[in-house]
Symmetry: C2
Subunit: 429 residues, 2 copies
């Protein structure tokens, strides 16, 4: 565990300000621009779908950066790419950073990519600052985080961490019927051709830190360049079905109606009110709402809608689920309502011992890094089951992501990279 670094009695070995000063903003900016050209869209965005040609080219570009860094590139059976730097004690497990290179079909330049490039720049900075780690250091790019081509996402980290099996994951098909196994084999053949050696899945790690754009508005509104993520919210997905009676809009008096839309509107409002907390920590979203038969002059007989409910605490999610069950027990506007729980992912809390190390590094650098909770999933959710895990968030403009206009200021990316580099040094020293 990461409670006490073994060499904390030797502070000179980890000069955080010197490491931060060795982060090269221009080099990071160049890498961001170079990578954004691989799968560039005309609208300024990026289309680098998991295991497509662009995604494979991005991997090969990353592998090419290994020699200048003095690192060894390798790839595992899930296509996860690693760049490994040795530590002074070869018996120790590595301290790992990284994120993903794949994007949404109309994605931006930062989601995932910034985490990989910040990790690469952090390792370069550690080297340039003359820092000698005791633990090995690794940079990783996980395969198919987005789930846009092959659903669900976070495939590379899930298989690496034994959350899902390689076999079932290889069977997943994209919309054209191509299996992930086939796409993986094509990609791995290219890696073979580039002489990238294979490595095992599930190799031990001492710690994992992922830097990512926030994909939310909090840091931008607080004017912070970086934030320390305490954990990842839990998510419950529900499907609510409201059943009424279809009838002619012109001929049916109000008193004789069982209008599924009216019922759905009323129960949706009641559910939203029940989820309203004064702290504004509950995330309640109705994103899909399908009205049947969907004709202007027919009273709807059926509405089906989704609920995406998130909270950092499992107990709150459970209590809200019970409240939702109560609310949907009775009829609304004369319509029967059913609530089905579709999926549930428990919240993850990152270990205090690890976030405390990052806080300490921020303190040494004079960086204000507020704590926040991740509202989105990341590969880190699986890594948290494999080793002590933490995340850093950098702000993104207007909280926008999965969009060509996704943007993070270079200054913020640099501060995030500096804190990442100093944190990796503290953990690996």
């Amino acid at each position: 565990m990461v409670n006490e670094p073994a060499s904390s009695n030797d502070p000179a070995a980890c000069d955080s300000p010197a490491i931060a000063a060795a982060v090269n903003p221009q080099r990071l900016a160049n890498d961001l621009a170079t990578l954004a050209m691989i799968g560039a869209r005309e609208d300024g965005g990026v289309a680098r779908l998991a295991l497509d040609d662009n995604d494979t080219r991005a991997r090969l570009w990353l592998v090419e950066q290994a020699s200048e860094l003095g690192a060894q590139a390798s790839v595992d059976a899930m296509g996860n790419v690693f760049l490994d730097l040795p530590g002074s004690d070869p018996e120790l497990a590595p301290v790992v950073t990284g994120s993903h290179l794949d994007s949404q079909p109309a994605g931006g330049k930062y989601d995932g990519a910034l985490g990989v490039l910040a990790g690469l720049e952090a390792l370069r900075a550690l080297k340039a600052a003359g820092f000698t780690p005791r633990h090995p250091l690794s940079l990783v790019s996980w395969t198919n985080e987005e789930g846009a081509r092959f659903s669900p996402g976070t495939s590379g980290s899930a298989v690496f961490c034994h959350v899902r099996s390689l076999e079932e994951t290889r069977l997943i098909q994209d919309s054209e019927g191509v299996t992930m196994g086939h796409a993986l084999d094509t990609c791995l053949a290219e890696m073979d051709a580039a002489n990238v050696p294979r490595r095992s899945l599930a190799t031990p790690m001492y710690a994992f830190i992922e830097l990512h754009i926030e994909q939310g508005p909090i840091l931008e509104r607080e004017g912070a360049s970086v934030g320390v993520v305490e954990g990842i919210q839990g998510v419950s997905w529900f499907e609510v079905t409201v059943t009424g009676t279809a009838n002619h809009a012109g001929t049916t008096p109000r008193a004789h109606r069982r209008d599924a839309f009216e019922g759905a509107c009323a129960v949706a409002t009641a559910l939203r009110e029940a989820a309203r907390d004064s702290e504004d920590r509950v995330r309640f979203t109705i994103g899909k709402f399908d009205v049947s038969p969907g004709s202007v002059n027919t009273i709807p007989d059926r509405v089906t809608f989704s609920i995406d409910l998130r909270h950092p605490e499992a107990a709150t999610l459970k209590a809200l689920e019970a409240t939702f069950n109560d609310i949907t027990q009775h009829t609304w506007a004369g319509c029967r309502v059913t609530l089905a729980a579709l999926s549930r992912i428990e919240p993850v809390a990152f270990p205090d011992a690890l976030t405390a190390q990052i806080d300490a590094a921020a303190g040494e650098l004079g960086i204000t890094a507020p704590r926040l909770v991740s509202g989105a999933f990341h590969d880190a959710i699986h890594l948290a089951n494999h080793c002590p895990t933490a995340m850093l968030f950098v702000p993104c403009h207007h909280g926008l992501s999965h969009h060509p206009d996704e943007h993070t200021e270079l200054d913020d990316a640099v501060v995030g990279t500096q804190l990442l580099a100093a944190s990796l040094a503290r953990l690996s020293r």
Copy 2:
């Protein structure tokens, strides 16, 4: 006008009970069964789409009934089929009844068909009772009332009454790209082959009475076999657009959201409340409601929904439209709202002089025939601009229509036909 029939000083010429007694329930039942076989669906319903082979076969079947009735069949350029019985005064305009033979793709046996067959049986009863009309009597079947194949519907009556032009109507295409003009020509060629003579559009009428199933629950709930329709509700269609900001469901705090679904739900509820009247005469329906982008974990940025608003009085429709405009002036859940008026059809009130004649006939027959307003459109809405027009409604089971299970009890159909026959006699004597 129909205020005072010319021969009202000769009551013996119009013996309502004898005419009612001449309505033959078995003959009406046989006709309903025969017609339901033309385009019969396996589920018991009827698919007789305007101007398709079944619809043309139904027309030819109707034409075949002319000779036994002693009537002259003819067809106009819109495919409207007439069966004409002479009156004693050839200078007078005819009293006309009828409805339509086309159905929805999954329609029932009664919508439209019952009005044509009740009219046919009423003319037979008048003849069987020895009644000699002064005015000619006509039965009509209007083309494409439903609008299911060629939209909009009520084509035959609209062109007959100069509400739409024949030329524009012939250009309307079905989903296969077949124009209504082409389908009409095919149908008319079959009518030519059956030696059905052509007649003019827009021929004068003394009065028009259409019998139809109610397509609503009122008569069934009141236990009435027939109702006298006072008019057809006006209809306003609106489209409401609610614009918010799309964002990640997991990362965006409530305070930073502009959730178009939340706004749409709130404004829809406010609009519905504004339309709520204690008399239950306003018909307010939201039947289409489209949420964009429609993803479980994305806060919607846009909702578009329809409003179908109906009322028998133009002033009420206008006042509600003004209220709706006020409600949509301000933001809802931080979202901008716009209200667009898509279409407006003014209410039609049938002339008191005509409905009073039907009331009088019902009185003579001892039939309880409550007044009601039509919530649906009918060919009568166009005829009301052409001549004094009225409608009779008979109940349908559960108010259900446009469905294979659509059903009217034979007893009710017979009572409706008796009242129709007696009313035609009073008007034509």
